[in-house]
């Protein structure tokens, strides 16, 4: 915990962390200082001048809050006439050449200019001359579309490409009122984090080609979630909306701040992985190619399990800890072997040193903690002698079709319990649809051993139950997520001290054990 100092804001005393700049320090106690160019991940630039605050008896009397560290006894003034006039004048300057684009701009609803206009400006326009026209709909690559007229030249995008991705594709060219953000001709944005620029931009100058014109922001419900695109487990906002007579659809993911896991950003593949949640879902229970009801499917699976002598259960590295535990328990109930074989989920060499991991599954660490064997040899040996093969949302052919393994599995009786339509559902005798990660609660552990919990966000019209419920219906002992924890806490050493309802929002760093140094 950092040292706290007392200072005065508008005459009232507040306690803030010392050393932080005023925007962060005072923002932490709930008072917002308007700013455009400052971003906590990118540092202060000081070109927008919107965060100017008055310091009583200070030298100088008006300072930019982004560059001023909080000190004991400072008397910060936010609401004097002088400061209000400064804010109004800066807003007027920003809006002089701002195009009248709100109806066609995606940023409407989360636009800083709109918000600060209502909070700090409220003046009529004094423009009597035509506005300056600049470039619009400029394709910068990687799905980022730039609109120079809307740009307030805050420099956040430029600083991002320089400091965070270190690729430096963007720059501000020309000077004074001819200053524009642009790319070097023939060198568009080319990095795997480019779409973060769309989040950073305070106005609608940088928009995502993927989200463009899809949905208005104020209709979206912004629920918290965790991306399951790779083992990093970046925290996200799942923005979804259900229109009347239609189903709940996810429109985009945005990164959420988590200083322990991903910081302020996320990678583009993870950001666009929302499409997989919407598309290609398994919707109907299939028994031998014919559509039936869910209850019939459960019954059939129950039958098969009762008849089978050596069933083999394949557990998914994308499932939550509770779900993996429930499957393990039901495997002992039916005398089945379990395997977590999922080499198909790893793309060797794809990871980088920032956020992207090689391992494209979200909870492989969970398999390791619960001591579920993931070796290929074990799988092949068990496959040889098994008579029933059940996959609990694990698709071994995800990134590549291993013909040999496919034939080996297809030769057995296959049951696929899956959220998406994939190779497993094609070769299965019984296919049972279940919920995907945006539709259930649970906890997962990421590549750095951080335990995170998430809650369900999307409620489809036709609700699917998750894998834990399926095991319960098949006779399993685990009733719900809370019920799974006592068993896990006694069996797994790292989880012994964890209180499942009191996992902090940032996630819980589990103790580092020998296994975490072994790459998956």
């Amino acid at each position: 915990m950092a040292e706290m100092v007392k200072l005065f804001v508008n005459g009232e005393e507040v306690e803030v962390e010392s050393g932080k700049n005023l925007i962060d320090a005072i923002g932490a106690v709930g008072i917002e200082i308007p700013h455009l160019c400052y971003h906590p991940a990118l540092g202060a630039d000081g070109n927008c001048r919107m965060c100017l605050v008055g310091i009583e008896d200070g030298r100088p009397p008006v300072v930019p809050a982004c560059k001023t560290p909080a000190r004991e006894g400072m008397r910060v003034q936010l609401d004097t006439d002088n400061i209000k006039k400064i804010q109004r004048d800066i807003m007027e300057f920003e809006l002089i050449n701002h195009p009248v684009d709100c109806p066609i701009c995606d940023q409407a609803g989360e636009c800083k200019l709109q918000d600060y206009y209502m909070a700090h400006d409220l003046q009529d326009s004094r423009m009597r001359v035509p506005q300056v026209t600049k470039g619009k709909k400029m394709d910068f690559g990687c799905g980022v579309v730039h609109d120079q007229e809307r740009c307030v030249v805050c420099g956040r995008c430029v600083r991002f490409t320089r400091q965070i991705t270190k690729t430096g594709e963007l720059g501000i060219i020309n000077r004074t009122d001819a200053a524009r953000v642009n790319i070097f001709p023939g060198r568009p944005l080319n990095n795997r984090y480019a779409l973060n620029i769309v989040d950073l931009c305070p106005v609608g100058a940088m928009t995502s080609r993927d989200f463009r014109f899809k949905q208005r922001v104020w209709f979206l419900k912004k629920d918290k979630g965790i991306c399951h695109g790779c083992a990093r487990g970046c925290n996200i906002f799942i923005d979804h909306n259900r229109e009347k007579y239609k189903d709940d659809v996810i429109y985009r993911y945005r990164p959420r701040l988590n200083s322990l896991v991903n910081g302020y950003f996320m990678c583009d593949e993870g950001r666009l992985s929302y499409k997989e949640e919407n598309e290609n879902r398994l919707t109907a229970t299939m028994i031998e190619g014919k559509e039936t009801s869910f209850e019939d499917g459960i019954q059939r699976i129950q039958q098969e399990l009762n008849q089978a002598k050596k069933p083999l259960m394949l557990i998914s590295p994308n499932s939550t800890l509770e779900q993996q535990w429930a499957v393990k328990r039901i495997a002992t109930l039916y005398g089945a072997r379990c395997s977590g074989y999922s080499e198909g989920y790893v793309k060797a060499g794809d990871g980088d040193d920032f956020l992207i991991c090689d391992d494209k599954s979200a909870n492989r660490r969970g398999l390791q903690l619960l001591d579920i064997d993931c070796e290929r040899t074990t799988l092949e040996q068990a496959l040889g002698e098994c008579d029933l093969f059940i996959s609990f949302d694990n698709d071994p052919f995800r990134f590549g079709n291993n013909e040999e393994l496919r034939n080996a599995i297809a030769a057995k009786r296959v049951i696929a319990i899956s959220s998406h339509e994939n190779t497993m559902t094609e070769i299965s005798k019984v296919a049972l649809p279940v919920a995907s990660y945006s539709e259930y609660d649970g906890t997962i552990v990421n590549i750095n051993n951080v335990l995170q919990s998430f809650t369900r966000a999307v409620r489809k019209n036709e609700e699917r139950i998750d894998i834990l419920e399926v095991t319960r219906l098949l006779g399993g002992a685990v009733r719900d997520n809370a019920h799974a924890w006592p068993g896990m806490k006694t069996t797994v050493e790292e989880l012994a001290e964890v209180h499942p309802d009191r996992i902090p929002a940032e996630g819980l760093q589990l103790s580092v054990s020998e296994e975490s140094h072994v790459s998956a």
Binding site: V100, C102, P103, A108, Y117, M118, D124, M127, W218
Partner: protein
């Protein structure tokens, strides 16, 4: 008067938190002190709060400021003689246990508490007949609770039989089982069902008759319950205005004006003089419309069909003026927070004068048929009388209360919009029978026409809108041509007018009585809770008092005389 009101009240209740909100007093009491407080308010002669206007509940589940208890019940009570209003708020720790009832103090609490039970699930200990009033009897759950999904409809498969209620009522009126079975006093149960021409809407009147006399009467409402309050919680403040239109749809613009007045009083917006006069003109004009329809329908029920043509045709003709001004014939949605939709059109004074003359002629023609008519006198004088004390106890306001002899009119006693400078009278009846109610309405038409003529003479020029970018949309020339106007327009539309958080109640003299709005705001652009205090809900609650002992034909014309509008009754 106002300054001493809070002192008066607070001095009688030491130890209870009182504070002044707008121009009334709000008290917060604990459940143990509730009965004592309410009795004192009613019975102490210096306090004499004899008119229980409304009881409502609040669910604080999603309120941004944490509260001690999830539920609270608010009583709005008025002392009409001294023009004092008090709101008593009591937190409810356990809704199943609830709070003690106050039906023994005010009879209007009977239906009001039933509604709070229906919508919030708060029990009232000692209530004589606590069952659902607005939702159907097969409904499960309490819809105004925040955790009830607004889209979850529940189908009702059968109508309710009401057998128990009528039997209890008969018992209360001194007719027991043996008398019911006696062949000489064979009771016939007659149902004037929800679909009936005489009910002017969807109300069910269930009577127990001996021959033609009504021995007992129970009424069921809620057939037009459209979920106004829950829908309003999901709309911005300006988006609620079309919903208010459809409350009392005969005088649609009065509801708009009442609603917007309530919001503006909390926001502290002082509307322009021209806007005030415009609102006065339009509300009096719509008061005339409402009374025309009420009297026309009532006289049709009596058999005088000619009056319908005389009176209703004037209403039809005035639709020309209304549609020219607002764009719609019936449901105008004409007001906005901070002003009106647009200004009067050129030449409106001439059109209005033509209408007023036509209305005067129509009403005079009708009066000529009715005033000295022997049949009308016999049928309406002395029937369905209601004394002033009973009327006050049942929460009556408006023309029905004034017909019973209580001279209470918000325009005179608690004036707003320059009503204190207009020269008009308030007609007051003497016996509270049907004749008085009809005649009070006839007289009010003439008084309203007087007010309109005075307002037309004095209406000043000037802007209609207050210049306040926080509440009022900028003009379209700004919105289309520069970014400031457009950003302002965008934020006001999709976020709504941001209203500072708090709770308040404001009322207005509508055609039927006191139309009040009780708001709970949470600082955002949508109301957290919006309760309408509907005048005819309480009048319907006292209906059985008026008709028991009379004949079935009198019940029919009585229903016409109290002007029940389904939209306002059931919301």
């Amino acid at each position: 008067m106002k300054a001493t009101a809070i002192e008066k009240i607070c001095s009688k209740f030491p130890g209870i938190a009182c504070r002044e909100v707008l121009n009334y007093v709000e008290m917060t009491v604990q459940p143990e002190q509730l009965e004592e407080t309410l009795s004192r308010l009613k019975l102490y002669p210096e306090l004499n709060f004899g008119l229980l206007l409304d009881i409502t509940g609040i669910d604080y589940l999603e309120y941004p400021v944490a509260q001690d208890c999830r539920f609270a019940v608010v009583y709005t009570i008025r002392n009409w003689r001294d023009n004092m209003l008090v709101q008593v708020k009591v937190p409810v720790p356990d809704p199943d246990k609830g709070v003690p009832t106050c039906t023994h103090l005010w009879s209007s609490a009977n239906w009001a508490e039933r509604e709070v039970y229906d919508q919030y699930g708060i029990n009232f200990i000692g209530h004589p007949d606590l069952r659902r009033i607005l939702n159907h009897w097969q409904f499960k759950g309490h819809p105004l609770r925040k955790d009830y999904d607004i889209f979850k409809g529940q189908v009702c498969y059968d109508s309710y039989s009401m057998e128990n209620e009528i039997k209890n009522r008969l018992l209360a009126n001194g007719v027991d089982e043996t008398t019911m079975k006696d062949i000489n006093t064979e009771i016939m149960f007659l149902n004037l069902g929800p679909s009936h021409p005489a009910t002017h809407g969807a109300i069910r009147i269930f009577t127990a008759l001996d021959g033609e006399s009504i021995l007992a009467n129970v009424n069921e409402i809620g057939y037009l319950h459209r979920g106004f309050e829950k829908t309003a919680e999901n709309r911005t403040y300006n988006q609620v205005i079309p919903l208010t239109d459809r409350l009392n749809y005969c005088s649609a613009m009065m509801n708009n004006i009442a609603y917007v007045k309530a919001v503006e009083s909390w926001l502290g917006i002082e509307i322009t003089e021209r806007c005030k006069f415009m609102r006065v003109v339009m509300s009096e004009f719509f008061r005339v419309q409402d009374h025309l329809v009420c009297i026309a329908a009532n006289l049709v029920d009596m058999g005088g069909l000619t009056n319908y043509w005389y009176l209703y045709n004037e209403k039809e003709a005035s639709y020309d003026l209304i549609s020219r001004l607002t764009g719609a014939r019936l449901t105008s949605s004409f007001t906005r927070i901070g002003g009106m939709y647009r200004d009067f059109y050129d030449g409106w004074e001439h059109d209005m004068e033509v209408q007023l003359k036509a209305i005067e002629k129509g009403v005079s023609d009708s009066l000529a048929l009715v005033l000295k008519n022997r049949i009308v006198h016999d049928r309406t004088q002395g029937t369905c009388k209601l004394s002033a004390e009973t009327a006050l106890s049942y929460g009556f306001t408006g023309p029905c209360l004034r017909a019973s002899g209580v001279p209470f009119d918000l325009r005179k006693d608690n004036p707003y919009y320059n009503y204190e400078s207009f020269d008009f009278n308030v007609p007051v009846g003497s016996t509270g029978d049907i004749y008085d109610r009809i005649m009070v309405r006839f007289e009010e038409i003439f008084e309203s026409i007087k007010i309109i003529r005075q307002a037309m003479k004095h209406i000043p020029d000037g802007p209609i809108f207050v210049k306040d970018h926080n509440a009022v949309l900028p003009p379209k020339s700004e919105v289309y041509n520069n970014i400031e106007g457009l950003a302002n327009h965008f934020k006001l539309i999709f976020e709504g007018v941001k209203v500072p958080s708090g709770e308040w109640y404001d009322s207005f003299e509508a055609a039927n009585g006191e139309l009040g709005f009780h708001f709970v705001a949470d600082g955002s652009g949508k109301p957290y809770k919006l309760k309408v205090r509907p005048p005819c809900f309480y009048i319907m609650g006292g209906f059985h008092e008026m008709v028991e002992g009379e004949m079935i034909a009198d019940a029919v014309i009585n229903l016409g005389s109290i002007n029940i509008i389904g939209g306002e009754l059931d919301r």
